[in-house]
Structures are given as structure tokens and as C-alpha cells.
Subunit: 147 residues, 4 copies
């Protein structure tokens, strides 16, 4: 399947590691990653996924796809600013959120609105999100939620 | 100023009344209303604003602007589905949320992400929202927050 | 009805006058104007419509609605760059094009794609556009085409 | 590089073959293909590119990425209707148009507006497009135009 991974564009080392672990596991288990294509959690998950041979997609707010982080395989420019947040979650079968601020909150709202299963790692506490405490538990959750 | 009013498309009678009061006060105090243009809170706030002589704008998810509720003065079709949620909050100087489910949650995320002051009436409990308990307190809050 | 008026953001004096005449006639005959909200033809048509007491809507590429020209009554920010071109024509029942370059060409394509009647004043020569030679003929055409 | 291939969703056998040849050549020469992800020219170019081992991206008007044709490797759902036309051309370094009606016309307008080099095979006759008469000439043109 394809998993949307969302989260802060500036993160602590610990969160970066966690997001990278999420990417590594997704790649290893044969899942594609879609994210917002920029830094922080977005970069970490792409770096991890690529390490494990997975395919990474970055849906950018910018009109120039060259602005993607170095670990995005398929960059999609939108030039739509934060309206691209909708596209990030629309393009995953499920969502994993790592940390994250207000942008991530908007994505969580859209994810729940589109009935996507969501696993949360230290992210906003919202009804409808399954909070877990490890990268592996996050990937396990979305795998079991999508058949 | 222009105030974005967001909230559920299906609401209780009590919430409908409250949203209508919000609209009435905004209209009376010379503010424009922008909303998602459909039913529930969106209809109620437009009905109230129009009653008070205010101008109402509805930014629709549909490609056909005729789908707006009867109290929208200026309907804007987008054909963009829930990506229009971004445009609703972008087009207000401040936001008032009445009740609301996951769609409203996504709008609150975008509102906070765009640094809009937000007053909440029985809506999601999130950091950054000023929770109030009357239509008047909501309008007072956004008035004081925007200069 | 509501008429989308499209055209160049930099125009000659003659084209500015023509677009202003289009706006004046639309306003006088009770039609709303929707346009891209910026300069050139967009400004001229809004200036003319407002002079005649008409309502003008500007759908902007920017995320800040304050960027609209001085004659826009209802500014809609989109933050979507040229994807807003689609919204300009979607929000008119018919289209009048005055001059215009590649942006206008994209709008003409969308207008024809959405089956909008189009009157052209010195604009791109395309199948499906009715070319006319005065502001009055343009307004007459869209009036007769929409019932 | 990445080439946006645009054109009609219903095409003749001859046009289908031509679009497939375009895809085959792009794949063979190591270029990615991005298109609108649906039928006709979009399907043909993806089929050809995949045959040659190329990577194909489909940017869909639908909110469900499963609606992509069978030869799309990376489907991107948008739920934005024809506003996705902008994203198709934005995501190519150059554009090849095969035949095509009004939707293609809007894409050509956006392509010229974004200064993308465009090769045309039996498509709209517009200033700024280099008209060629074979798939090979089209691919040669975009290769020489992008460095």
C-alpha cells in the first residue's frame, strides 16, 4: 500500500530517528511513502524508505519540484501552498503522524475527514487517531487497518 | 473586517441558533462573512448575517455555484472538494468555529497554521483557540484580536 | 448573470478603455463581474463595473486578498498561483476576453472545456470563440448566449 | 528529464500509436513521463513508456488514485477536476501534445505561460508551439530545448 507520513518540518534528533525508522520499515515491507517533500519528518521518512529500497513521493507546496528534499524519488510540484496538505493525505491509504504542529493538525483533520486510518507518534491528541509508541507499532497499525 | 465562520453541516437547533446569532452580530457590526456555502452552521450564519444586512460569501467544494445555500450573496465555486477548506479560512481575517466535525478540524488546523485568531463555540479543544460561550463573546474576541 | 472577464495584465490605453467599457455595460445591465483581481484588463473591467454600480469579484493567485486592485468589491485569495485561472472562468456564466497572452489562453481553454459561451475582443483566435469588435457586441453576445 | 505528455482522452488508432511511440522513445532515452493519468493519449504514452522501462506518473482529476489507467506507475489523486491540468504541465520540464481538444488547449496555455518548451503532434496551432510530424521529432525537440 501507500502510506502518507506527516509531521513537523523542524524536529528533534529523536523525532528524526523515529521518522527514519518509520520510513525504513515501510520500505522494507514493500510500502510506498508519500509526504510533503520538504524537511524534518518529511526528509527523515524519505531517507529511511530509500535506504530500505522503497519508493518515496513528495507533494510540494512549491511550483518548482527541484525544491524537494534529497530523498524524494518522485517529486510533485503543486504551487498551491498549504492546499497541498489535502493532497498529501489523499494520496495515502493510511497515515502515520510523527510530532507536528499546525500544518500537521490540518493534515490530521483532512485524514480523519477522508476516513484514513491514522497512527500517531507523539502527535496531536485527537479522537480517531491510534496513538502508538514505536515506529514498528505505527507501521503494524496501518497495515492491520488497511486489510 | 471579514470573518470566516466554520462548523458542522448538520447541527442541532441550538447550534443553528447560535450560528445565526453569530451571523446577525457580524452583519450588524459591519463585518463580512465567508463560509463553506453549504448547510448547517454555514447556512445559519449566512441567514443571520443577511438578516442584519451583511454580505455573505460562500466558497463551495462544488464546481457549480448554484449549490450554495439560499443566504449566500456571493458564491464561489471551486470544484476542488475539501481543498476548498483552505480557501475558506484564508479568506477571513479571523475565524469563528461553531461545533463541527473532522472537516472543521482541518479548517482549524489551517486557521492556526495561517495565524488567524480563532474563537470557538463548542468546537474542538485545541491549543490556540479561544473558547467562548456566546455568539457575542465570539464576535467580541475576533474584533479585539484583529486590531 | 455573472460574467468572467479575462485578459492581459498589461494593456494599451485602447484596450484598457475597451475593458472599462465592458465593465460599465455589464454593471449597467445588472450583471456581476468576476476576474483575476489584478491589473490591466482586470482592473479596467472592475473600474468600469463599479462606476456603473455593479458588483466586482476578484479571484487572486495570491494568498493575501489585499493584493486585489482598488476596484474589486469581493476579493478571494487562493494562494494557488495560476491554478486560480480555472476558478475565474468556472465562476462566470459566460466569458468575455479582451486581448491577453498565455494566461488568458489557458483561461480560454478552460472556458471552452466548461462549455462557457465566450466573446472575444482582439484576443486569441480559437474555434468556439465569437469574435466581436466592440464592448457592446461582447456584452450582447454573452447575454444572448446565456438564455 | 521529465516530460508532460498531453492530448485527447479519446483518440484514433493512429493517434494512439503515435502517443505510444512517444512514450516508448521517452522511456528508452531515460526520461520520466507525467500525464493526466486517464485514457486515450494518456494511456497510450504510459503503455509505451512502461514497455521501454520508463517511469510513468499520472496526475488525476479524481480524488481516488485507483482511477488511473493500467500503465501509470505513480498515480497522484487531486480531487480538483480540471484544476489538475495546471499540475500536469507544471510537473514536466517540457511538454509534448498529441491531438487534443479543449482540455489540452487549457494545458497548452498553462505550458506556454510557464515557459515550457512544447512540441506538437497534430495538436492546436498556437504561437510558441513547435509543430513536428513524428514521435521521434517530438522527443528530439524537447531534448534539445531542455539543455
Amino acid at each position: 500500500m501507500r502510506v502518507a507520513v506527516i509531521g513537523g518540518s523542524t524536529v528533534s534528533d529523536e523525532q528524526y530517528r523515529q521518522a527514519r525508522d518509520v520510513g525504513r520499515l515501510l520500505g522494507k515491507r514493500g510500502h510506498e511513502v508519500v509526504c510533503g517533500g520538504l524537511g524534518g519528518v518529511m526528509e527523515a521518512v524519505c531517507a529511511g524508505a530509500r535506504e530500505a529500497g522503497g519508493h518515496t513521493i513528495g507533494v510540494l507546496p512549491n511550483a518548482d519540484r527541484k525544491r524537494a528534499n534529497d530523498y524524494v524519488d518522485t517529486a510533485i510540484a503543486t504551487g498551491m501552498g498549504s492546499a497541498r496538505n489535502v493532497l498529501v493525505v489523499m494520496n495515502g491509504d493510511a497515515v502515520i503522524a510523527v510530532d507536528g504542529s499546525t500544518g500537521t493538525l490540518s493534515e490530521l483533520g483532512h485524514a480523519l475527514d477522508m476516513d484514513r486510518p491514522v497512527a500517531g507518534l507523539g502527535t496531536h491528541s485527537l479522537e480517531g487517531i491510534t496513538h502508538v509508541d514505536s515506529a514498528e507499532a505505527a507501521v503494524d497499525h496501518v497495515e492491520s487497518a488497511v486489510q
